[in-house]
Amino acid sequence: MSKRYFELSQLKDEAPDLFGIPTGTKLDEMFFKIEKNGDKYVKKPLGGIPYLSVMNLTGVPDSGKSVLAEQFAIHQASRGYRVLFVTVENPASFLYTALKQKSEALNADFSKIEKNTIVIDASQDDEFRENPRTLMDTMAYAIREKRTSITIIDSITGLYEHKEVMARQIVRQFFNFLKKFKQTGLFVSQKRSAQTSESAEAAGGLAVAHIVDGTIVLDKKLIESRWDVSLYNLPLGSVLRTIRIDGCRVTAHDSSTWVFEITEAGVLEILSPLKEYMRDHINQTGR
């Protein structure tokens, strides 16, 4: 039986070091730790999402959740780390095409991505989606046999789509599973239409946000009225995309809203904080 209580000092050797697992985007500079430098405390970028953390990516449809998850997978696989990608929505063959195209856009060696990415296709087999235990058992096999260190589930919502009342238990099980198997993880979670787009809330309520180590909210604003044109100084019909870290219990982080774009090649590029973007944009256009 595992031990049920500890003296704090006994946890020293088990406690994970605080460093980042890079995503290859500016998100890596948005997580930081505070270190003492002489008499002063300084902010030191972590260089990625915290090692062994399980982060939640949420947002409305087409906000870029899967794009970011795939980009993270490509970046890690191209660095030689094994990635387990559990695809719940998109069939594996389509995921292959998406990863290939993004690899080319990111100038990554696709042969490395192919070699280092293990995919569990839960989109085609009901047993994976309906029975979390079966999926976890297969994930355990992949982690053990294929030696993965990063796990992405796109999306966790697909595992409780028709029974959101069970969301908390299911998310908790997968969260504990990734902790037990010492994976750095990303859960992609969908929003429901009644939920505000800029909040951490997702399908299943706040269950996912409360359980995971942190949430990254992606949002998009369609410029659809004269008021929007005036406020954002963008042409009618354009889209303003934003990203924000909505809490992380593992480390300190930038809490401001940043602007990003998804390039024509389908790559997510974080540009600058919203306030700077607005200021620069207004200066450029002279309005």
Binding site: M1, F19, I118, N131, T138, I143, S149
Partner: protein, 146 residues
Amino acid sequence: MEVIARPTRPKGSIDWMAEKVFFKSIELIGGLRKLIEYRNLTWLPSLAEAAYIVVLRNEAFKTYKEIAEELGITEQTARNIATADEEEVRMYLEGRVGRREHIAGGLAKLAYAELKRSGALDEEDIVPQLDGKNCSQKSCRSSAPD
């Protein structure tokens, strides 16, 4: 890119876990011989059903409706078994109280709780890898990305 499109192996499956719960339940009441001695073999079908209900509810997160459909029982039966008071069943088995609860349900829940506590239903632990091979956490730190 390796694609795993089918579940890997039976360990961790519902059948595997239900069997573990079933046999643990028999062990808790003193073994199969005890059932024969007390002419209680009729408990076995109920116990098998209860083992599945407890596992489907707690491991597969099935709703009572889904459990009822899968096992061909009523939703109320699934609910009665899944919510049986295991402590009262424990006291009944120890002869301290009369029978009031669903015995098989409480017994399966006791067995399930004991298996969970001992880790007998779980996967083995694994150490992380960050450099292409399994390693201890300490050595992983040295090979961690900059």
